[in-house]
């Protein structure tokens, strides 16, 4: 059960080997465990698809009521099960990557997940569990949306101002958490969750104001962003998507090449030691959470200015929480987060295909996503289930290597 709520401590240690990126072998266990987790999750998903299929249920019914013709019905059960699973998973693949518009959809859904996931991942590395992406995105949406639909600025400038407003508001919202943590020691899990609620009510409060509503309407729905404020589109894809990849590159640079990033990782590893070494832990907390907010703010601009959505209290949807899963799956590294974001975007787009053409409820995709993370968070379980654990003597050198890498990382 403990595996169901993975804490940063449970995940971050796995990334210790990450600085040795050039050494491909050190990545292999991570990649293998992740792939296994995905396969296992899809297998459990297949089982769920099978047992919720009408034909399978009917066949099972026959099986139990006519034990005499066991083999006939057992055959039916298996045949229908595989039929249902085949239909569902081919629809999943088609919906995710099967056509130009499917790919477009996958990328569009990945972009906010990647940005918000980066925010969560960055906080993980500094030892902070940032559950506040939702709140940061909501407040960002308010600011970004307001600039987007209220002002009338020239093309380009309007976009930049709207993005900046959204990112700034979200950064402040995230920064509050850092300040609270640094000044009072308030735990960031508590404060981020509370700020999510406060963010939602803030949005509701403003949406009830006339200046945030469409003219002549009382619905809690803002006007859409002005044309000049939206991301330009190239070949069907809006510019926010490459921006998300740039953000990942930026986070990588920050973490691996900058002084602040080094401090973040040091504080994440041991705040006490970092303080003793003369770092300002308070500064690191505040900067980390503000940058995490900045990334969440960028995420919501993907939705508002990329997909041209209006501001509502539901505009964030499940992205804020999926971002946590994405960051966990990505092992809190920029590259991992990008890949995990793409996977979740593909699952989300494919889930739509599964639902519309195979009639599989969308909850199934959420179950599969949750299972992937569950299996990732419990690598021992996965290895045990899949029986890929190497023989003892084969295992030892790897561990020694890891220890050596860790020792190196510590002295560097």
């Amino acid at each position: 059960m403990a595996a169901m709520s993975p804490t940063p401590d449970a995940v971050v240690p796995e990334t210790e080997e990450e600085p040795k990126g050039r050494d491909l072998r050190s990545w292999l266990p991570t990649v293998r465990d992740t792939a296994l987790a995905i396969v296992l999750a899809l297998l459990v998903g297949a089982f769920l698809i099978a047992i919720s299929d009408d034909d399978v249920i009917e066949a099972l019914d026959g099986l139990f009521s006519n034990p005499g013709s066991f083999f006939v019905y057992a055959g039916d059960v298996i045949r229908h099960s595989f039929g249902a699973v085949w239909d569902a998973y081919t629809a999943l693949v088609r919906g995710a990557v099967g056509s130009g518009s499917a790919l477009e959809r996958t990328l569009e859904r990945s972009a906010p997940l990647i940005c918000a996931g980066l925010g969560v991942a960055l906080a993980f590395r500094a030892g902070l569990f940032n559950i506040g992406a939702t709140g940061q995105m909501l407040v960002g949406a308010l600011a970004c949306g307001y600039v987007g639909f209220t002002y009338d600025l020239p093309p380009g400038i309007h976009l930049v101002v709207a993005v900046a407003a959204g990112m700034a508001a979200a950064a402040i919202w995230g920064g509050i958490v850092g300040v609270l943590k640094a000044q009072t020691g308030a735990h960031e899990v508590i404060t981020t969750i509370m700020l999510n609620q406060i963010g939602r009510f803030t949005v509701l409060y403003f949406l009830a104001k006339e200046s945030f509503q469409r003219p002549g309407s009382d619905n809690l729905l803002s006007p859409p962003p002005a044309e000049n404020a939206t991301y330009p589109t190239i070949a069907g894809l809006h510019l926010g998507i490459p921006l998300a990849l740039l953000a990942a590159l930026g986070v990588w640079w920050l973490l691996e090449r900058s002084r602040l990033g080094f401090e973040m990782r040091a504080v994440g590893a041991n705040p006490e030691a970092s303080r003793t070494a003369g770092m300002s832990v308070a500064k690191v907390y505040i900067a980390t959470m503000a940058i995490a907010g900045l990334l969440s703010g960028l995420a919501i601009t993907m939705t508002l200015l990329g997909l041209q959505q209006s501001v509502t209290d539901q505009v964030v949807g499940s992205v804020g929480f999926d971002a946590i899963t994405v960051a966990l799956l990505g092992r809190a590294t920029p590259l991992g987060t990008v890949l995990a974001g793409l996977l979740f975007g593909a699952l989300s787009a494919g889930g739509l295909g599964m639902q519309t053409s195979a009639g599989v409820p969308p909850e199934l995709i959420q179950v599969v996503q949750a299972l992937i993370v569950l299996f990732v968070a419990a690598p021992a379980l996965v290895r045990g289930l899949a029986r890929v654990r190497r023989r003892r003597n084969g295992d030892k050198p790897e561990r020694a290597e890891q220890a050596a890498a860790e020792a190196k990382g510590a002295t560097a």
Binding site: G75, R79, S81, F82, P112, L220, Q314, L352, Q355, T356
Partner: protein
């Protein structure tokens, strides 16, 4: 350990191989037929005479808002309309649930790609996406629940409900049944589709006061502002609001907050006061509270959706705004609760008011 793994692997491969064979044999009648076209033919055979005309080649589809089709509220009721249409007219169906607003456009488009002839979208949040889709896919009929356009394209119909009318009746009924002279109502959010109920309720109470020289008070709504749970999910907030009203003497509670309103009924049941349910007949959808219910204000989204699908299938579609009223049965008052004990005089009075609203003698809203 290794051996078990190997056995398992062989087993899986064997099953795969066997079922692959099985599948191929049946390809002819199974894969092609599919489930969608199976069911209509069955209904056609079983009820050839009495049943409504069948449209097995017509595909009716639906997109939910972020509440999902199992929200025990307007998404679910609208979905009931889709299901009843499938049953009655033998149409094929497909559906897409949304988890956040950025998916609306995709969801509608993917249903268009699935070959849907008619698509119903549920809720005002889908207003933009539906309008855009209707302009893009002119050969598909669209209907949207709870939304009206100033100028709808030829293939888009708004389905709205004047729930103020039955709420007026409910307000009158509540005032007449109240012994303490205090009744209470609360909403989910301060949005028009919610407050229209509360306004009707308030007017019904005021009408009672005028007619009988009484002074029944309404807690929770004054015509512009009032008490809201700010969420359609959180029952505990609904319960504590209702408890507050009951502490202030209210003996009829009218919660307009979807599932969160169930908390209001719980509070009413606990305190032994009356509740009035909304959207669906509470004695069916929330049967555990049936004994505490006076009645329910029914918003017939299922009826409207069913009708919109039939209109499209039979070629009678128009983009004219549908407005459910007491007159056309799109909104109504559910049968009185089993314990409500409404005397004949009062029930005759309610019928009289209903007739007056239909004739326009009383204007509500």
């Amino acid at each position: 350990m290794k051996r078990t793994a190997r056995i398992a692997a062989v087993g899986i491969i064997a099953t795969l191989a066997l079922t692959a064979c099985g599948d191929r044999e049946d390809d002819g009648d199974d894969n092609e037929g599919g489930t969608a076209s199976d069911s209509p033919s069955v209904t056609e055979e079983s009820s050839p005479t009495e049943a409504a005309e069948q449209y097995p080649d017509f595909k009716a589809c639906m997109v939910s808002d972020s509440g999902g089709f199992d929200d025990k509220s307007f998404n679910q009721t609208s979905h009931d309309g889709l299901e009843s249409a499938a049953e009655t007219y033998g149409v094929q169906t497909a559906e897409a649930e949304s988890t956040d607003p950025s998916q609306f456009e995709d969801n509608i488009q993917s249903l268009v790609d699935e070959g849907c002839n008619q698509i119903t979208t549920v809720g005002f949040l889908l207003g933009d996406a539906t309008l855009a889709a209707a302009k893009k896919s002119k050969n598909v009929d669209f209907a949207i629940v709870d939304f009206a356009y100033e100028k709808a394209p030829a293939n888009l119909k708004g389905l709205t409900f004047n729930t103020a009318e039955p709420s007026f009746l409910a307000g009158y009924l509540a005032a007449a049944k109240s012994e303490s002279g205090v009744v209470g109502t609360f909403g989910g959010l301060n949005i028009p589709t919610v407050t229209i109920f509360m306004t009707g309720f308030l007017q019904g109470v005021e009408h009672y006061n005028e007619e009988n020289g009484a002074d029944v008070q309404v807690l929770g709504w004054d015509g512009t502002d009032g008490s809201f749970t700010e969420s359609f999910e959180d029952k505990t907030v609904g319960q504590s609001l209702a408890e507050e009203f009951i502490n202030q003497g209210a003996d009829v509670i009218f919660p307009v907050a979807g599932p969160a309103g169930l908390g209001g009924l719980q509070a009413a049941q606990d305190a032994g006061v009356w509740g009035i349910w909304v959207d669906t007949d509470g004695c069916v959808s929330a049967a555990e509270y049936c004994d505490s219910l006076l009645t329910s204000v029914v918003k017939g989204m299922d009826v409207a959706v069913d009708q919109a699908i039939l209109d499209s299938a039979s070629g009678g579609f128009s983009n004219e705004l549908y407005s459910g009223t007491l007159e056309n049965g799109g909104v109504s008052l559910a049968p009185y609760g089993p314990q409500a004990d409404i005397d004949e005089e009062l029930s005759a009075k309610i019928e009289e008011l209903k007739a007056a609203i239909i004739s326009g003698e009383i204007s509500v809203g």
